[in-house]
């Protein structure tokens, strides 16, 4: 197929002459089908303007249903009608042309100035509308024609389709312009003046905006449907055309019979209404035309406009075949680049394969199974005949199968598919996965690929698309495969990495020195493809007195690292001693925050979110950059397995008793944190009342008080948290998860176990409610902590009624905020994407738009792929020097 390039698109108005020329049939009768069940000649479902009944042939082109594209017909209107879509334009033109000679009311100088400006805009491919607007504005000011000295009248636009001429000197002298008058005036405008309106006289004469001949769309554009009862139900457009023809006929009859002017005008008005609503049934101030059932009709404009219209609904938003959608659920046992496909879906979706000598036997085997799972649904024989594979014919087909056949084979393990979750906000929202057919009714995916899709398993649904051509499969494999997208192009860090339990599991495994005997160690490395356990770390005496070799958790983790890997970094458990003025003890860190990997061994440090977590993942980042995507994929898989194996062995759970704090702790929190702060707040209030408080710079006295109170109460919660932390050690599940970065934070835990703290609305304490108080439980003017949303209880202890209410007030704000933020950022993203979607990085490194105009001379100024650089820099010099001199020069 030769590629054709669109050079341009020309828009214009249809001239009455043209409408008649392209018309295949005149339409006179308002009826559709006759009593014999056949379309009526010269009727609306005319056999010359397209066929929608099977078996009939088009009288214009001879095509059958499906072959004939349909042809336009036409209705000769008894009187001209204003086209509602151009009503405003007509008004503007009338107001700026002479009522006698039709010339545009501009002096020679202004005229040529405007014409030149329009020409300039056109050359620059810019909007001429801006200039045209000025033309209308200037010309409408003129009161006497400069060409024929005719005194002009003011035109009033009587919405939606009326024009009234008013004398400038005497506002009471008015005359209504009928469409015939309007058309006459538009006809007088000379061709030379038309470019001033931004129109081209060859393609759009202004008088063509008045309808004298109505084009009738082919029946294929408005097909009737046959109801179950055998009754025909016509399309809304057909209904509307019937109305137009009826009134048109009545108009003609009345006029021919010499009816009074009043009746004629009424009918004219009615015809105008029907033609107007035929084009647009949502005109302001016009009642919409309705169906017999009372439903407003869907006419021309309604077909095109809006989300479900022709443009956004049918052209940009087409539905696709070879796709499936269902709920997702986790399966840590499958690989990260696999997707578990329910067998029912796999049986329905097919891949087209050409039978060749090499795959003949394999396909024959597939065909022999018929529609049993990895079977086939259809075959296309060498003679291009499509046959459905059924229980009765599959064996016969398998025997007959030969080279040149095409087989629609069911989806099977190893096929490549696209997997997607809406909203598709970035390119990682659609990635290529390999199929794994399994029982059940949900798509299964490895939890490590949740972050790029932003998916969870609370009922999320995802879509799958089966690729149909070899090119598409190759492209998906090269560009969209999960392993290619481990590093996020957004922030240059791994996005596919350990989450939740994977982090917990490895944290438990590598935290302190855990010892595993041979059996347990092998258990840990179950389903991980590595060579041997390596040398044991030492021996310990068993209960029976013999020396048993053991392996440490760190050692086992080292087994899944690439052999030669070296890396040093600080984990999330690091308490940033340096920033706080201390010194980093590095290898001797009591929290094991300093991770050292030497020659593929974890020498010290604990594995946490910073090592393998999504968005952080230093180890994964390093492996991806040094050893490539396959090694990175393998590491993620292995670490996920190792983590599950480990967490399975010890078990990991969290319950209400994990929030328990011993009695003395509770007392301490109450007295040292809460009472203390409340006391200080009262102290501040007293100082304020006694006018002893000093205002902070730039703030009023009252603001100062509020600020100090907020600070004091904020500190109260932190203090409570610190105290709680002392009683909750790392053996507490919630603490472990918070510290390792697996899930939750210490703040969450503080609120659960110690003290919920101050509630706020817009960053301030809660003041809304009654005058001077939030609730009737407090005295008016009470400024104490309790009265303005300080919750002293913990979630576990339970909130008092007033605390509960004020907590809900603060909670509402958070809820509203997220709702507003998502909609706003969604729209913002849409606008950004619309603006940037055509930009492309070319082979020479420049960023260009579709015309080839350069936008950026080098992509990102440095020409570097953000997913492949070192944290935003092209190279990390410190790191390279460290590697060469084998000494840590950075930090």
């Amino acid at each position: 197929m030769r590629l054709k390039k669109i050079k341009g698109i020309k828009f214009g108005l249809l001239a009455p002459k043209e409408i008649r020329k392209m018309s295949a049939s005149k339409i006179i009768t308002p009826d559709t089908y006759g009593e014999d069940g056949f379309p009526i000649e010269l009727g609306l479902v005319n056999q010359r303007i397209g066929v929608i009944d099977p078996g009939l042939r088009c009288k214009t082109c001879g095509g059958r249903m499906g072959e004939c594209p349909g042809h336009f017909g036409h209705i000769e209107l008894a009187a001209p009608i204003i086209h509602i879509g151009y009503a405003k334009m007509i008004y503007r033109i009338l107001a700026s042309t002479c009522r006698r000679c039709g010339k545009v009311l501009l002096g020679e100088e202004a005229r040529s100035k405007f014409l030149e400006k329009i020409e300039q805009q056109k050359e620059k491919q810019m909007d001429v509308g801006v200039v045209v607007k000025l033309v209308f504005k200037e010309a409408a000011k003129t009161e006497v024609c400069m060409f024929c000295d005719e005194i002009q009248k003011r035109i009033k636009y009587d919405k939606p389709t009326g024009y009234i001429e008013v004398e400038i000197a005497d506002a009471d002298k008015k005359r209504r312009l009928m469409p015939t008058d309007v058309r006459e005036r538009l006809e007088k405008i000379p061709d030379d003046d038309i470019p001033l309106f931004g129109m081209d006289p060859k393609n759009a004469r202004p008088e063509w905006m008045i309808i004298t001949v109505l084009p009738v769309p082919p029946v294929t554009a408005r097909p009737s449907i046959t109801l179950e009862s055998g009754q025909r139900s016509e399309d809304d457009l057909t209904h509307k055309l019937v109305d137009i023809i009826r009134i048109n006929q009545r108009f003609m009859e009345n006029r021919d019979a010499g009816a009074p002017q009043l009746i004629i005008e009424d009918l004219w008005e009615l015809l105008q209404y029907h033609v107007s609503t035929y084009y647009n049934n949502e005109i302001p101030s016009v009642p919409p035309a309705r169906h017999r059932s009372g439903r407003p009709l869907k006419t021309m404009t309604q077909r095109l406009k809006g989300k479900e219209g022709r443009f956004r609904g049918s052209l940009s938003g087409k539905r696709v075949n070879f796709s499936a959608r269902t709920v997702i659920s986790p399966d840590p046992e499958i690989e990260i680049d696999e997707v578990g496909v329910p067998i029912d879906i796999a049986k329905e979706l097919t891949i087209n394969v050409n039978v060749t000598e090499r795959n003949l036997e394999a396909i024959r085997e597939t065909l022999k199974r018929g529609s049993e799972h990895p079977g086939a649904n259809y075959v296309r024989r060498a003679d291009d005949k499509k046959v459905k594979v059924t229980e009765t014919n599959h064996e016969l087909l398998a025997e007959e199968l030969g080279v040149g056949w095409k087989v629609e084979r069911q989806l099977q393990d190893g096929d490549i598919v696209l997997f997607n979750r809406q909203p598709s906000l970035h390119r990682l929202s659609i990635m290529a996965h390999y199929v794994r057919v399994m029982p059940g009714r949900t798509f299964r995916l490895n939890p490590t690929v949740c972050p790029p899709y932003n998916a969870d398993y609370d009922g999320d649904e995802m879509n799958m698309h089966v690729l149909q051509t070899e090119e598409a499969r190759a492209e998906a494999k090269i560009l969209m495969a999960v392993k290619r997208n481990i590093m996020s192009p957004r922030f240059g860090r791994p996005i596919i990495a350990g989450i939740h339990d994977y982090i917990t599991g490895l944290f438990i495994l590598t935290w302190s020195e855990k010892r595993f005997d041979k059996e347990k160690a092998q258990d840990m490395l179950n389903r991980i493809n590595i060579r041997g356990l390596g040398e044991p770390a030492g021996t310990f005496e068993s209960s029976s007195g013999i020396q048993v070799p053991y392996w440490t958790g760190k050692q086992l983790f080292g087994r899944i690292l690439p052999k030669q890997m070296d890396l040093q970094f600080r984990g999330v458990v690091c308490e940033k001693c340096i920033e706080r003025g201390g010194i980093c003890k590095k290898e001797n860190c009591p929290r094991e925050g300093y991770v050292v990997i030497k020659e593929g061994d974890l020498v010290c440090g604990v594995i946490d979110e910073m090592a393998i977590g999504s968005f952080k993942g230093k180890i994964i980042e390093q492996i991806f950059k040094l050893y490539g995507e396959d090694e990175a994929k393998k590491f993620i898989n292995d670490s996920a397995r190792l983590a599950t194996n480990c967490i399975k062995q010890s078990g990991f759970s969290f319950g209400i008793s994990d929030e328990d704090i011993p009695k003395e702790g509770k007392v301490q929190i109450r007295e040292e944190a809460v009472y203390e702060a409340e006391h200080k707040v009262e102290e501040l209030i007293r100082a304020y009342d006694a006018e002893e408080l000093e205002a902070l710079p730039g703030r009023s006295l009252e603001e100062t008080l509020e600020l100090l109170i907020m600070q004091e109460l904020g500190r109260a919660r932190d203090d409570a948290g610190d105290i709680a932390e002392r009683y909750l050690g790392i053996e507490n599940s919630a603490v472990l998860m918070a510290k390792s970065g697996a899930r939750g934070s210490m703040l969450n835990l503080t609120q659960m176990a110690a003290c919920v703290g101050q509630q706020s609305v817009r960053g301030e304490r809660i003041h809304r409610g009654y005058q001077g108080r939030t609730l009737p439980h407090f005295k008016s003017g009470d400024r104490r902590a309790e009265a303005h949303g300080f919750v002293r209880a913990s979630f576990k202890d339970g909130l008092t009624a007033t605390e509960y209410f004020l907590h809900a007030v603060g909670g509402r704000e958070a809820l509203v905020d997220t709702a507003v933020r998502t909609s706003q950022s969604g729209y913002f993203q849409r606008r950004l994407i619309n603006a940037l979607q055509d930009l492309e990085v070319k082979n020479d490194g420049t960023v260009r738009e579709t015309r080839g105009t350069v936008v950026q001379f080098k992509y990102g100024d440095d020409g570097v792929d953000p997913s492949k650089n070192e944290c935003g820099k092209v190279v990390d010099i410190d790191k390279i020097i460290s590697e060469v001199v084998e000494e840590d020069v950075g930090a």
């Binding site: 020479d844 105009t853 950026q856 100024d861 440095d862 935003g872």
Partner: protein
């Protein structure tokens, strides 16, 4: 420049603009295999090239400090 207006040239947020000669322009266009109109544009009235004596059709070179690349060069075609 009109009396009483302030020149923004030299301000730290305004990168350096220099008009380049025809030979350099040709080299530039050849390097990227583009036509003159495919360059990014700048208006003659733009305050950043005010006083440079740039005329419509000239090409200016802009030297920017870039966070990613240190120094980046860009070119713009002067238009009316």
């Amino acid at each position: 420049m009109k009396k009483g207006t302030l020149s923004i040239i030299g301000h730290e947020l305004v990168p350096e603009h220099v008009v380049i000669d025809e030979i350099e322009v040709k080299e530039l266009l050849d390097k990227y295999k583009i036509k003159r109109v495919q360059l990014p544009k700048i208006k003659v009235s733009d305050p950043a090239i005010n006083g440079l004596g740039a005329e419509i059709g000239d090409v200016v070179e802009i030297t920017r400090q870039s966070r990613t690349a240190g120094i980046s060069l860009s070119f713009r075609l002067v238009i009316g």
